[in-house]
Symmetry: C2
Subunit: 339 residues, 2 copies
Amino acid sequence: MRFTVLGAGAMGSAFATPLRAGGHDVRLWGTWLDGEILETLRAGGPHPGTGVRLAEGCALYDAEDLAAALDGAEAVLVAISSAGLTDVLDRALPLLPPAAVLALATKGFVPTDDGPVLIPDAVRARAPEARLAVVGGPCKANEVAAGRPTVAVVGAREAEGLAEAMSTPVYRVEACADEPGVEVCAALKNVYAIALGIADGLPTEAGGQPWHDLRAALFTRAVRELSEATARAGGDPATPYGPAGVGDLEVTGLSGRNKVFGVRVGGGERPSVALDAMAAQGRLVEGVPAARLARGWVADDLDRFPLLAALGELLDGDRSPGADADARDRIVQAALRGR
Amino acid sequence: MRFTVLGAGAMGSAFATPLRAGGHDVRLWGTWLDGEILETLRAGGPHPGTGVRLAEGCALYDAEDLAAALDGAEAVLVAISSAGLTDVLDRALPLLPPAAVLALATKGFVPTDDGPVLIPDAVRARAPEARLAVVGGPCKANEVAAGRPTVAVVGAREAEGLAEAMSTPVYRVEACADEPGVEVCAALKNVYAIALGIADGLPTEAGGQPWHDLRAALFTRAVRELSEATARAGGDPATPYGPAGVGDLEVTGLSGRNKVFGVRVGGGERPSVALDAMAAQGRLVEGVPAARLARGWVADDLDRFPLLAALGELLDGDRSPGADADARDRIVQAALRGR
């Protein structure tokens, strides 16, 4: 198949590994921010985001060559940061071949005048005829790039073709008819991973053990809220129990910036201080803006999302230390909530 | 309520914390192997298994005082190791007050002439009139003993009374009508946690990252197999998505002997060598015998339990290094299995 990947960041370039292993034609298009990355890749160096060299046989396209990158594409994988998505779609949607599948690996919400909207819904509003799919599952870019085994999931009304095309013996992609479910899980997992990090960072007495029970209780609560959120989005509440939810939440909570940020906050650091410190190192914590947008998305039903509500409060900009302490307490209370 | 806890090991003594916090009457009975522990507790020292002192106000009973320990009990929490369970039940069942709830915290299978049987089923065969319940959820003994927040779950036809009685503001026990489901999860989580440890222990290139995607894929597969196993036991396949499955698997995979054993095996150590080395340190790996029993329990349906099957093979006594390598491969293949 002829794949075009939009975005030469870590995730976009990582897709090249399974796609090239599957014998597909891969064009990797870089945004206007990806100039240095493309230079490095053209020189044969490892991708700065994954530490892994790009799979052999990809064609690289600069930002101004979007039309050429999309010409005749059968599947377009969108791996742009959520912040840059709108700009890219503005240019790309008119150039999209009508029969092409538009598979979104970009996760999250976009703010609109009517409140936060899930990314596929925003795309659908602008391109109602597009054949949409969402790609989720436990897939760290550096591991996928290196060809390490994992599972992924394509959420779409007719997901089987794309799932099978993308699959390799070590990158197993399953088809899921529940597109909203896969997207909700992808959009929220970064937020909940912050909670897992918070549990990991909580102070312990000298020689004390990490708070593992609490972490597991938070994990359980997060999975339940993913199910509630999926139902809210019109999806199958069981979707989060598979790779899109359980799997991606597990991997996201093991490492990565959301977890690291959570550990700092759990240890007592003010969220805004931790955020700025990480930003100064060029490390964006996607779960933070996602928390605010997600909380806005369920604003009329916060009772069913006590963990999301508490995380949204904690991460809602500058607040007093007292308010932060209250929010931390509410995070623990959320963990202790039953069904 | 008048609680009697059978077994003064880590888990049995840990229950004393929430039960005393709830104002209940607590009698802690030690087995014939718990003599030294009882001595330590009577002297006011910390429990050797949890590192935490026993909650105030418990009455301690020696092994020979079982009748006195059970006299008038309203709820009996069984926290004996699965190896010692039969002996204790032989003596305890005739002494059990008829109206008492028999709540099993002991998890696993017992071998019988008809093959492995889940513990509550074995108990029910011997005491058909007993009011049974199963206690599960993410509860590390040292953390529960120390009063750290977590959730637990009582699986029983009428679980609400016991769940509410045992609950405290930091030990939230939810009721679940699906007793088989809670038991299956409890019985199998140690086995699957070994797989998580194996992923954690896999060799990496110099400076390489842990195999997080694989761990998450194994976690996902394990949860799916818990659901299949629960359905097989006549339970609700959704039970594993809550604290009994997801929660307990998460906490068990974070630390503890099953995970540690898994890490050693993932790193290349022969399972029997790792097992003996840990046994020499007094550290029993419950997931190993459980793996064999569990694999026997699903022996007629192994296709639906590829991860359990592969773990059972890997842990099935002395085998050749080649057979071990094959079993490791099958563990990875199981992780990549879709639905």
